[in-house]
Structures are given as structure tokens and as C-alpha cells.
Symmetry: C2
Subunit: 361 residues, 2 copies
């Protein structure tokens, strides 16, 4: 039993999709967080198999996913896309693995936790209990979509304190949301434009250098919302366990590398002052308030890049929801804010590693 | 009288600030619109005096602003900044000139028309009558701020048809709003980053390459709104002659060259269907609807660049203002849309030339 106990507390972990932008960031975060591991195995497509990735100073050889790849593994962080997740999940879960899946495959599946550790840690309490009792029962935990995680890091603490009845969100989303290919496309096209040549779009239909465009996910022909916007709405409802939060989402891809921003207008259920909002956000774990009006110092993608925290600023009373005659210190229902978060970290890899930490540490 | 009549209908025009990004675009638009002119003189700072700019195939020498620069001029398009406009306006108006001022100097001055020709042409009817009666009474017409013009090209037709009670606007503003220096900064910093060197900010406090930031205008310490956001609110109220339109504005500078985008969530006074909104925008002069859900083809900065029209798309019913159970075809109050417009053209130079055309053509 001592071997098992040690194994439970120091899981043998796998990263599936290890060579992608999120996979590499998972390795980095596992290192930075000094996550206790009994072993680490890396998987990717057969194209990438055989290459090595460094981890804690040693190279690990990337393996192709073979049948029974999961033998001897306790927990796998999946970031290889929805179709791979759907293909491999059932056998792996039956073999007792816990899958922390960064794809959208199981996010809205009833019974599958959709987890932001700072927001709804209770969602994984059953699986955590199973891990700690060494039952090896297996299961899936879904990592929410990047723009949803980053939004909720700021919105959920406000929702808990005052209730959010409505949020109008416009996003400024980075290239990394489309993986390293998306980032390469932004860099390559920008080089082309600066060299005076015409870039050929590969990943995105629209030109990306010095341009921006409506998110490249498919649109629902009836509602006109794209998949990214629908995720923000539906995942928010599931994570907050509150489908009554009304959301307007407009998701836009902008020419920045790896941090998303979101302009958020909120309507509260119970009135609050700006000081209340400041206080709630300042006390929220994983949130850093950058809101220096005198020096025009607010969240930006570059300030969020490489960091763990979601940055929030431009906090202000929304004049469109406040009586013009009233002092701005009067408790009110409407506020504006601007959020920035690293898409690869809190939007993906970091959130997944945090879930693993909650299970095993 | 025949000389005067000809002069009235073919004004002798000046462009003040001719060497700036907006000034150069004014020359281009005057050419493209084939504006009838009896003469054209170009003014700029003493640093630029003596250089030439081409107009209709011939070079025009740029002059420094000297005392009595305005003699023999009927109308001047000003784009040299607020302080120059304030310095030169009184004498020029007393000498009978009509000034079409692109700065913010007089926009909110009572009695000064703030004009978007497609939206409130009636605002300049007195000055137009004066021109046509050859009274040479002089006056100022203010060109609104770029982001306000671009917003109102889409919002005003909807407001006229159904009434807009509230708009939540998040902008994606181009470098050109800070002039050619702003555009140079974006290009130079992007080159630096791609070459692996660290760019030094000059125009903007924040790094600009592959980044975005809250608009660089000063913030009102009480409300927390920056000057760009306050312009959008106050200028909209003046142009629509309706201070009851409630506006939340978040103004963000993004790394694109010369076209602004705006994500706009609206609440109507009278319910409409999406088809109604489509129809109103399709019929609006100067507006082009690009709203192809099947092909994910919507407005972008590059599509708006160099064109006269403001592009509108991503038209959809706002789910956060619509009863979940009701058909999306039921008339409703909430809609979302995404707008793109060339900042240098409709946001500045083109709008000013259109005003001159209204006066003299």
C-alpha cells in the first residue's frame, strides 16, 4: 500500500498533445509549480513521435498514442483537440485514468466537471475524494474555453458578492488561441507585410497582419453567434451553476500573440460602489487589479503574458446605467472593466495543472 | 458679381496641417471627389513649409501660417490640432472664412455645428445659406471625433427608425488616430520586435507591437473615463440632438494601421426584427452591410481601409435582451453589431470634404 499511497500523491502523469503550444506550456507550468510527479510521459501525433522535449533539465522522448498507451498512468492532461479526446477518453477512463481535457469535447456533457479552480473547486470534489481514497475510478474533468476562464476570473467574484444579471463582453483574442500555427501565421504575415510582399492566409481566412476579424469559429446560422461566443455563454452558465446570467458576447481575433483581453460591461443584481468592486477583485485569488488612472496604467496583453494572474482594470461606474444627477459614490448596478489574461497559461495550461494540483497535492 | 458667384461655387480652399496624415488624406479625397476649387493653398508648421505636395498632377508648395494667411481664402479645412485651431479661428472667421475644423477645439461649443453629413446635414443649413447668398459671414463647423463618426454612421439610422435608448461600445482603434507618428511607431516597433530588439516607446506609453492598450488620452479622475470615451458620449448627444441616448464606451488602441472597429450592443426604444435592422442599415447612405454568416465574412479594418463606406456586420439579436423561449424573429429590443471604418477617411478627411461639398456644390 505504501507504493500505492506514494503513487496517489505523486501521480504518474501524461501530457497528450505535448508538442503543441498548450502542451509545451503545460510542461513549463508543471516545472514552475514544482508539481510532484512519480513519472511524466509525453504523447503527440505520430509526426512528432521520437522528438524530445526538456523537462526538469532532462529530455523526454515524445511517444505516439498507441493502443493501451494509458497503462501505468494515473492522470493525463489532454490538449490534442476534440477528436483525439473523444477517441481516447472512454478506454482511458475505463482503465482508471483521470483526464483533464483542454478540448471542448466533454465540456457541456452532464456530469463532467467544467472547472476553474478559483471559481468552482467543488465541481471536482467527487473525483478528488476518489483519488484520495485510491479508488482509481477514473473520470473526465473539462478545462473551460480560454476566453470563458479569463472572463470568469473577474466576473465570478463579483457575481458571488452582488450577483451579475447581465454582462456584455467584447473580446480581443490572441493568435495563440489557434495554437502555434496561429502564432506562426501572425508572425509570418507581419514579416511579409513589412517586406512589401502579400501574405497568403493559411490558418485564418482573413489576413492577420495589422488586421483583426470576427472569431474564425463557425457561426450558428440561426442565432448568428459563433462557436466561441456560444462557449462563453453556455460554459459560464455551467461553471457558475446559474443559467440566469444573461450574456452578450462578441469574439474578435486581434493581432497579438498570446494574451486575451475582454471589455466587459456588467449589470448587478444588488447595487455596489466602485470601492466594493475594487475590494472584491483585489481579494480574489488569481486576480491582480491594475487600475492607475493618473498614469494610464491598465491591463494589456503584454503585461499578462507569462504571468499567472488575470489582470483587471479600467474599473468604473457605467454612466449608461447610472442616474446622471447622482454621485458616482452612490451604490449602483452598472460597471465597466477591462481584463487581460495569458491564453496559454490561465486560459489553458495553467488551469489544467491547477486542477491536477487540486487532485493530487 | 459673376466673379463672386464663380468664387462662391468654386471656393478658394486651404488645408491647414496639410502634411499630416489627415491633411494628406484631405488632398486625396478632394482629388477623388473632383471637388470644384478656384484655388488650393496648403499650410503647415514652419518645419514643413517649403516642401511640396502633389495635387491634380501639380506640386503645391506648403506655406507656413503667417499673419493674414487667410486673405483670399473662402474655406479652410483645419487639421493641425486643437491649439492651432484655437489660435487662428477668430481672425479667420472675422475675415469671412468658413473653417471645417477636424480638432476637438470647438466641437462642444454651443452654436458650432458638429456635423456628419449623412446624420445631421441640417446642422449646417445656416452656413450653407450664407455661402449661397454670398454673405461671407464666416463660421466654424466642427468635424466630430473619428470613433464618434464611425459609430453614428451605423447607430443614427437605427436611432431614427426605432430609437436607441442605450449603446455599449468597445472600440478597436487604429494607429492613425494618433497621426502619422502613431502609424510610424506601430511599424517601427513591429520591425524591432521581429528583429529581436526592444523597441523604445515614443508616441505611446505602452509598447504597441503585438499589443493593445486603453486609449492614450487622459482620464477624468472622477469618472475614470478617458477623453476619447467622453467625446463619444458627448458628441453623440450633440449630433443626434438627443442627450437621452445612454452610452457606455471603452476605447482601446489596437495594432492596426488606419481603420477603427467598434463592437456595439444596442437597446432600442421600439422593438424591431433583425430584418428591420438589416433593411435600415442597407438603405443608409455611406453604410455597407457585410454580414455573410455562411462564409464568416464580416467587416475588418483592412476591408474598410481606403474606402468611403462604413462597414457593418455581425448583425444579430442580442440573446441577453431576448426571452430565451421566444423565436428570434419576434420583434425585440437588443441587437449586436460590429462596425469598421477608415479612420483617416470617414473618421476625418472624407467627412470634412463632404461638409465642404455640401456648402459649395
Amino acid at each position: 500500500m505504501s507504493v500505492n499511497l506514494s503513487k496517489t500523491h505523486m501521480p504518474s502523469l501524461a501530457v497528450v498533445g505535448a508538442t503543441g503550444a498548450v502542451g509545451r506550456e503545460m510542461l513549463l507550468v508543471l516545472e514552475q509549480y514544482n508539481m510532484p510527479l512519480s513519472s511524466l510521459r509525453l504523447f503527440a501525433s505520430s509526426k512528432s513521435a521520437g522528438t524530445t522535449l526538456p523537462f526538469r533539465g532532462k529530455p523526454i522522448t515524445v511517444e505516439a498514442l498507441a493502443p493501451a498507451w494509458y497503462q501505468g498512468i494515473d492522470c493525463a492532461l489532454l490538449s490534442a483537440g476534440s477528436s483525439v479526446s473523444k477517441q481516447i477518453a472512454e478506454d482511458a477512463v475505463n482503465a482508471g485514468l483521470i483526464l483533464i481535457d483542454n478540448s471542448s469535447a466533454f465540456r457541456m456533457t452532464p456530469g463532467v466537471p467544467l472547472t476553474v479552480p478559483e471559481v468552482n473547486p467543488e465541481s471536482i470534489s467527487l473525483l478528488k475524494a476518489a483519488v484520495q481514497s485510491q479508488s482509481r475510478s477514473g473520470g473526465i474533468i473539462a478545462n473551460p474555453n480560454c476566453s470563458t476562464i479569463i472572463l470568469l476570473m473577474a466576473l465570478a467574484p463579483i457575481h458571488r458578492a452582488f450577483g451579475v444579471s447581465r454582462a456584455v463582453v467584447s473580446t480581443y483574442q490572441a493568435a495563440s488561441g489557434a495554437g502555434s500555427q496561429g502564432m506562426d501565421e501572425l508572425l509570418d504575415q507581419t514579416r511579409s507585410v513589412l517586406n512589401g510582399t502579400t501574405p497568403l492566409p493559411k490558418v485564418f481566412a482573413e489576413p492577420y497582419a495589422f488586421n483583426l476579424f470576427s472569431h474564425n469559429s463557425a457561426l450558428d446560422p440561426v442565432s448568428g453567434l459563433n462557436a466561441e461566443e456560444l462557449k462563453m455563454i453556455h460554459e459560464t452558465h455551467k461553471i457558475l451553476s446559474d443559467p440566469s446570467v444573461r450574456i452578450s458576447a462578441t469574439c474578435i481575433r486581434v493581432p497579438v500573440m498570446r494574451a486575451h483581453c475582454e471589455s466587459v460591461n456588467i449589470t448587478l443584481r444588488s447595487p455596489a460602489t466602485l470601492q466594493d468592486i475594487h475590494r472584491v477583485l483585489s481579494q480574489a485569488k488569481g486576480v491582480e487589479v491594475i487600475d492607475d488612472r493618473a498614469n494610464n496604467n491598465f491591463p494589456t496583453p503584454l503585461k499578462a503574458t507569462g504571468g499567472d494572474n488575470v489582470l483587471v482594470g479600467r474599473l468604473r461606474v457605467d454612466p449608461s446605467q447610472h442616474s446622471p444627477g447622482q454621485s458616482l459614490d452612490t451604490p449602483t448596478l452598472g460597471f465597466d472593466m477591462f481584463i487581460a489574461g495569458d491564453q496559454l497559461r490561465k486560459g489553458a495550461a495553467q488551469n489544467a495543472v491547477q486542477i491536477a494540483q487540486m487532485l493530487y497535492c
